[in-house]
Subunit: 620 residues, 2 copies
Amino acid sequence: MSFGYHRRILRVNLTDGQITIETPDDVFYRRYLGGAGFVAYYLLKEVPPDTDPLGSENRLIFACGPLTGAPLAGSGRNAIGARSPLTGAMGESEVGGFWGAELKAAGFDAIIVQGQAASPVYLWVHDGQAELRDAAHLWRLENKATHAAIREELGEKRARIALCGPAGEKLVRYANVMADLKHAAGRTGLGAVMGAKRLKAVAVRGTGKVPLADPAQVGALARWMRGNYRDLMGAFPDLGTGISMVPYNRDGALPVHNFRDGHLDGADVLGREGLAEHVVVRMESCYACAVGCKKVASLDEPYPVDPAYGGTEYETAVSLGPNCGVTDVYAVTKASERCNALGLDTISVGGTIAFAMECFEEGLLTPEDTGGLDMRFGNTEVMLQLLELIAARQGIGDLLAEGSKRAAERIGGGAERLAVHVKGQELPYHDPRIQHGLGLGYAVSYTGADHMHNAFDGSYEHEAGLDSVRNLGVLEPMPATWLGPEKVRAIIYGSLRRHLDNCLCLCDFLPYRNDQVVEAVRAVTGWDTTAWELWKAAERLVTMARAFNVRQGFTPADDRLPPRMAEPLGPGEPIDPAALKAALPLYYEMMGWDPITGVPRAAKLYELGIGWVTGLLEDV
Amino acid sequence: MSFGYHRRILRVNLTDGQITIETPDDVFYRRYLGGAGFVAYYLLKEVPPDTDPLGSENRLIFACGPLTGAPLAGSGRNAIGARSPLTGAMGESEVGGFWGAELKAAGFDAIIVQGQAASPVYLWVHDGQAELRDAAHLWRLENKATHAAIREELGEKRARIALCGPAGEKLVRYANVMADLKHAAGRTGLGAVMGAKRLKAVAVRGTGKVPLADPAQVGALARWMRGNYRDLMGAFPDLGTGISMVPYNRDGALPVHNFRDGHLDGADVLGREGLAEHVVVRMESCYACAVGCKKVASLDEPYPVDPAYGGTEYETAVSLGPNCGVTDVYAVTKASERCNALGLDTISVGGTIAFAMECFEEGLLTPEDTGGLDMRFGNTEVMLQLLELIAARQGIGDLLAEGSKRAAERIGGGAERLAVHVKGQELPYHDPRIQHGLGLGYAVSYTGADHMHNAFDGSYEHEAGLDSVRNLGVLEPMPATWLGPEKVRAIIYGSLRRHLDNCLCLCDFLPYRNDQVVEAVRAVTGWDTTAWELWKAAERLVTMARAFNVRQGFTPADDRLPPRMAEPLGPGEPIDPAALKAALPLYYEMMGWDPITGVPRAAKLYELGIGWVTGLLEDV
């Protein structure tokens, strides 16, 4: 008997409609864990170089982890992955809510989707069964309508549904996958992969439970978190994300005007207190979670905002707020709602709009290009209008639907220097110029810039912050705007916890200590595992992802930061490209990769128990 | 407040008699742990290249670990180290018994001895105090007499005493340090370092306790071991070491006649059952240990054997038994007693005698060389006589006191091919030809061939054996006589536990699971540590030791096995030197060392938090 997973993985071929169930052995689960680990495994095994991300041969993987669905705060997550249409690299994003737990309740650990449907379909997975159903009538519907229609026709009010929105159908390269209406697998354009496959949705419903090896111990951990999260999380359970907005703005380190500036008068209202005061009507939780950190916003005017679409997270607030020069709390709330309705990644869409606004101000885009839109920073109505144009690929929206990197290439005239992305993916809204290790992390992330794959230098500046890595052996504090060897190590060690969480499908917000994560996996799976085994699994994920990207043609030249990061920023220190370039070989070599080529060494692959990958890298 | 250690390290300069107390910070303890970790640290910091192992500038380090002296089975250990006079490499050996726990009770974590006394002295450490005392009257005494005299003149019957025997005084290159009379820090010639420094003994007595962070948890672990060791250890608590003798002999894999043969009629009596029947009068324990695995032998005739010197362990039984062609259980018991009285490493002395016997049979040594001794295999009396000659450096003993490597060089005529050593240290009595990974381990051990630094392939042949490494991520069994990449990894992972134990000073015999070791360290020290941090500390030790050896001139050419291992052995497979040579680069690279030079890479040093070592390797 296995615990924590079912040893059942669904494989769905949309081309011929065939649905099969695969039953990997326990060694497979223990080696790759789940979530991002499964995504990396299947992409590396099944998606060869030059596979068109928007073609039939790409894989789309929905993967739970061993903790998904366990009765434990933070366990309502799953990963989704594919070769990214935005970056061409490994695409992967994690999502909270209830969908993953529901898939586990339905008796499956993961779904691998391949092929391409001739006409729109959705997948209906319920208690060990799976079927493809026609979705032609749902095509073009926004998410709420799709969601309601599927629940209605299935007669299953409790179905949880992963959705491809209108933006995904239109192959917007940063279209997201929404789990129900409030939870976004935001990054790397996975919605476009769904759209390309003509897979409108994956609805799941299950009445089973995740088998637990030691229910009492799982219960004890759950009780510990319920009893302690308030003391450990400050105001987070009341206010959610957004603590950084006000201090960043005060210090001049807030991403403003496409990362050009660090402060914007009036932006403070977009911090979590401002949102609470003006637009948030309640806080909600994900599956089994004690912490209600998810905002729900509702408004009648000046913009009607439907609470079904949740509320504005920090990244969204900066992206569509100050980064576009916008400080209108109502407009930003509306923008968040529209992104969730249309299926747009708020980070990338805001980054792309901000990029376009700067191009407009610099004369690289003219009113002729924009169809007469006055795309100056701070034009709130234009920001809102662009969301619609992008999702529909209309007018200037068609260009911006390609993301800032491709748009810059088409615009030309030096627009590239204004495009704030890594590998084509727009930067999240924590400026690396005040945290140089995070900059390194953005540069090397296998998905392009991604704050959920990284550790923050600020944590390691003071003794107290070291608590998260001291039990990995990082024992001494170090400055945030510094990229010395000890920092490279601290960032690697800190990031591995994120990657581990993404394999286990455990929420990063929950203040589980490293040793408690080990305890949770032991209690759920019954494995006598250790931190060594689990952190090595995280290394394995990162190394498999690297191998995938290497095969897709990525080189160390792609591990760079946008030119803007070398420009001054108030309290920050520009990141000298030469300093970053000097840190890269050290990072690679610490990871067991070749310092010049960045290709994982055979010794590291064998050391991680994935010697089979050596064969895939022979011709690289 | 620190737990598990005192933050007090004694430094004794024998040249000027100065004694000081150093108080490193907690980061130091957490980074290097103790035991072998401290030995590696101080040797690397303070013993530059070309330091004469028998000179004033060598350091002699007695180091406890955080677990030494905790009320926990297996915690009565400490490490001793110096640059080895036998190998020139890092010399280090661990020892059980009571001495280490007593040093902790006296308020010190370690003693660093430097310089050289003008005339013999001993060190007396008691409850926070330390003094050097004259030992001129003790010089030339055998261990029991020295031990009794020191206790007598200190008026302290409970003093625990680490002793340099007559062999150490005579600079026999494999002289050991005996802790009291029964517990040997056997390997790498540390007794000769004591002798060269004219340090006859270190007597310790303390009435303090090791401060424990969580006494209740330590107690729970201790109770667990008391309640379970019998089920987990089979007959070990009743019979001690020696389970392998009979099966090895049956299978033709026992080291016989200088590893030339694999079976010897009559050798079975030297197995643990035979010893129990013929010579063992009781079993004893080390400090705080539930398991009484230490044999005590007593005899009146044919040889008087003093039970004060303990009994015959497996390595001793093979070394001075079948490896020399001897099957007389009484003579081997006497030989064990004499080695402990004289301070001779039983493994190396037996290996050297066996080598000489084969030389004699091959005509490379003649009766003229041996002073008329008939040194054929199986000459029991000559074996016993040679122990005395070696300890006194008389006749042929003077040559053999140099160890088999140096002796072979002097004998010439191809004697080197009969010398069964790595880096000058004689092989322990587990033949690598039936366990190829162990062969790799012997080849790369920083001390030369050492079974206590290594993992055994046999454990990884079947699912059950994997229990010791499965929670490090080694998930699939593999053949014993195979040296593929997965084996290299398994051996590294398995060996790291040994190295960790040697830093913590925890006995390898106790069946603590990996996760329980983590638990023990947490409970004793109060650190919120993880397996990741602890196994990385083991990597740190091995890497520091490698750096030390690199600085002393060792290269990959020294990481080889003796020619005998390429010869056939009954059930075994010869280890093809080419296969070993092919595995080395993979081993190095898995360790983060350069695959060609074997030198630790800067990235690995920084990754282990010991960037300071890069400066020491710059000119290498």
